[in-house]
């Protein structure tokens, strides 16, 4: 038995009930290496993953891992400062600046057993994106793409709609996502690469993913936990609160319903989209604040208010593990799991309100 206490909180959150889950797998979280003094460390991230029940986490690292040297450095940091029982996988960046990263070289520095993952952030150069997919396919790597059109999505705080219009927020059209999904899907057709769309946020993007799946293309998709818990009505309720600045922005309510249903139907999996945002980057105007939410600890308990455990086991463990080509992590028995998380507490409840203590038994 391991008793974990978050090194970051003083929460006295009451935790009740118990559950047994396969170890969870997160395909999309963010970390800066080395962290600045007020940022989350690799150990802090691993600790939160452990508390949240995650045993394998794909980490999108800043600055980008683009070659053997940066991969070696990242692996050393993650292993040296990690926590037993939690595997942090560094994703290789597909594009370094405006150049193709040295993907094969970077994978050469990783243990052979490590799943090969290429990160593909939004990029405006479709020719370069095609080369990333071709290279990833040659390396037998899974591409985890953030499907957003760079120019349409730039600076957006919300999706276009009545709420963004009412609040005067910079907004992106749904097409910012659907154009990117359509483009990448076509490139999957051309290159034969395996692509996972991380952070789908619109019904239109979802429909395109379903179409691609029905055509037998090797694509998959995940939705960030935040986007299953909250929609843009939260922007009205918590006006200009920078904790609601997310990337992609929160979906409209009708889109959130479609995303939730897609998880239930097994069309998409769930990722945390976890990104620690230091307070100095939160204490800014909403259009200048860094997007992100701290979700590794909150994802499972919060989502238990939305989904049955069987759905969560599939969407947070079994299917992500299959996409990464790994055996699902050994089951974890939570001695105590919060079962009545209010949706907004996922964002607001875990900071500065005491000490979150959760006991976890690894089997």
């Amino acid at each position: 038995m391991t008793t974990m206490a978050s090194e970051l909180d003083d929460d006295e959150t009451t935790i009740t009930a118990g559950a047994r889950f396969p170890g969870l797998v997160d395909m999309h979280c963010h970390l800066r290496l080395p962290p600045r003094p007020d940022e989350q460390s690799e150990r802090g991230l691993a600790a939160e993953a452990h508390v949240g029940g995650f045993r394998v986490v794909v980490v999108h690292i800043t600055p980008a891992i683009v070659d053997r040297i940066s991969m070696t450095s990242a692996q050393q940091a993650l292993q040296h400062h990690g926590i037993e029982g939690v595997t942090l996988l560094a994703a290789v960046d597909g594009i370094a600046g405006d150049e193709l990263a040295d993907i094969a070289s970077a994978f050469g520095a990783a243990p052979p057993s490590m799943p090969r993952v290429v990160r593909l952030p939004p990029h405006k150069d479709t020719v370069l994106v095609r080369r990333v997919l071709e290279t990833a396919r040659a390396c037998d790597a899974l591409v985890i793409a953030e499907p957003l059109d760079v120019t349409m999505a730039e600076g957006a705080v919300a999706f276009e709609g009545p709420i963004a219009t009412r609040l005067g927020l910079a907004a992106m059209p749904d097409a910012a996502e659907s154009i990117a999904v359509a483009t990448l899907t076509e490139l999957v057709r051309v290159t034969g690469a395996r692509v996972h769309f991380a952070g789908i946020a619109t019904g239109r993007g979802l429909a395109l993913v379903e179409t691609a799946l029905s055509e037998g293309l090797d694509v998959s998709a995940s939705v960030h936990a935040t986007h299953l818990l909250l929609d843009d009505t939260a922007l009205l309720a918590h006006r200009y609160d920078t904790r609601l600045r997310l990337h992609p922005p929160l979906p409209r309510a009708s889109d959130r319903s479609m995303l939730v249903e897609a998880v239930r139907r097994g069309i998409v999996t769930i990722s945390t989209g976890h990104r620690w945002v230091p307070q100095r980057e939160r204490d800014l105007e909403i259009d200048k604040a860094t997007p992100g939410a701290r979700m590794l600890m909150a994802t499972l308990p919060a989502l238990r208010t939305v989904f049955d455990d069987s759905v969560l086991q599939e969407a947070l463990s079994l299917r992500p593990a299959a996409l990464l080509g790994i055996v699902p992590p050994a089951p974890v028995t939570f001695s105590d799991v919060p079962v009545s998380f209010a949706a907004t507490e996922a964002l607001f409840g875990l900071r500065g309100r005491g000490r979150l203590i959760q006991r976890i038994d690894d089997e």
Binding site: T165, R166, L284, E285
Partner: protein, 332 residues
């Protein structure tokens, strides 16, 4: 306009809000109270001695992170006519230019203990941010693309004075067109809430890229793609509010200023057509105006133009705002 509250009459009526951050936070009684109080102050402004001791000993901080002429001078004069001390801040030449954050600037201004803070900022929601960290009343003097509530109040006030409407009558039965860059305009947003609240029907028109698709879902307005339809259909509008193209925020959607003037500007010819249908039609513009672009000089300088009356009435509206928020905080 009637229903003025003289200074002697000003009793215990209070606003329902601590801050004036947005029109959408105001109730109709709040708006009526602001308008009737402003009418009282407009009488003060007509006197030879224009100063009253209402806010003596109080401090009003003017935090302008964006350029402003009318609004800034108007608030400053309003505060001075109420005998308040003013603390003036502009981003240019301040610590902001050296990289200080809005929050840190606010904390430093807060340390000087202002009773009220007037803020203009390029980011939507900046007044909400300040109201979380400052103890004084926050007054929004324009935040990004969100709202400019005192501008809408002075616009409504100006129309009601012109049309000799009582506060109770409001703008019932009147139709007002707002033309220009609706999507980026905080003035439009505040007016699209306030004018319907006072009973007016509101039409909006502008180039397609300046009309958000969700506009009619967000506000009780009728959207027109064609400016002539907006001005002339249904017997014509009673007032036209022209907005400037905000070139500092985006490129013009039209090929040139001349093209814009032809397609969407209030030209002499276009206004003459409206006058034939509505002889008493009036023109508003929040300023600064771009002559020959969104409004022709002959229209801007016409007797039907209320542009200078807007500027004058802005002082009374801002005096009312400062006074009522001070009253709410127990400072007046």
């Amino acid at each position: 306009m009637s229903d003025a509250r003289s200074l002697d009459d000003m009793g215990p009526e209070r606003l329902s809000v601590r801050h004036l951050r947005a029109i959408e936070e105001l109730t109709r009684p709040d708006v009526d109270l602001l308008l009737s109080t402003a009418l009282g102050f407009s009488e003060v402004n007509a006197r030879a001695l224009k100063k009253v001791p209402t806010l003596r000993g109080r401090t009003v901080a003017l935090m302008f992170f964006e350029n402003s002429t009318r609004t800034r001078l108007s608030f400053e004069l309003a505060a001075k006519r109420l005998s308040a001390d003013t603390l003036s801040f502009s981003a240019t030449g301040s610590s902001v230019a050296k990289g200080e954050t809005l929050l840190d600037t606010a904390r430093n201004i807060e340390a000087m203990r202002p009773d009220m803070v007037v803020v203009r900022h390029a980011s939507s929601g900046a007044p909400y941010m300040l109201s979380r960290v400052m103890s004084g009343a926050i007054i929004n003097a324009g935040d990004g693309q969100h709202e400019h509530p005192t501008q809408a109040l002075l616009d409504a006030f100006t129309l009601m004075v012109r049309w000799q409407r009582s506060v109770a009558e409001g703008l019932q039965g009147k139709t007002i067109a707002i033309v220009g860059d609706i999507g980026r305009s905080r003035v439009a947003r505040s007016n699209m809430l306030l004018l319907p609240m006072l009973g007016a029907k509101v039409r909006v028109a502008g180039p397609a890229p300046m009309l958000p698709a969700a506009l009619s879902q967000s506000f009780p307005v009728e959207v027109f793609a064609d400016v002539d339809d907006a001005l002339l259909s249904g017997g014509g509008v009673d007032a036209v509010m022209m907005l400037r193209i905000q070139k500092e925020r985006s490129q013009s959607p039209m090929g040139s200023d001349a093209d814009y003037a032809h397609a969407f500007g209030l030209t002499g010819e276009r206004f003459a057509k409206l006058r034939r249908m509505k002889p008493d039609a009036v023109v508003l513009h929040p300023g600064p105006i771009n002559r020959g672009v969104e409004i022709a000089s002959e229209v801007a300088d016409d007797a039907a133009s209320l542009i200078l009356a807007q500027t004058e009435n802005g002082i009374a509206i801002r005096m009312a705002t400062l006074y009522l928020l001070a009253l709410q905080a127990g400072h007046a």
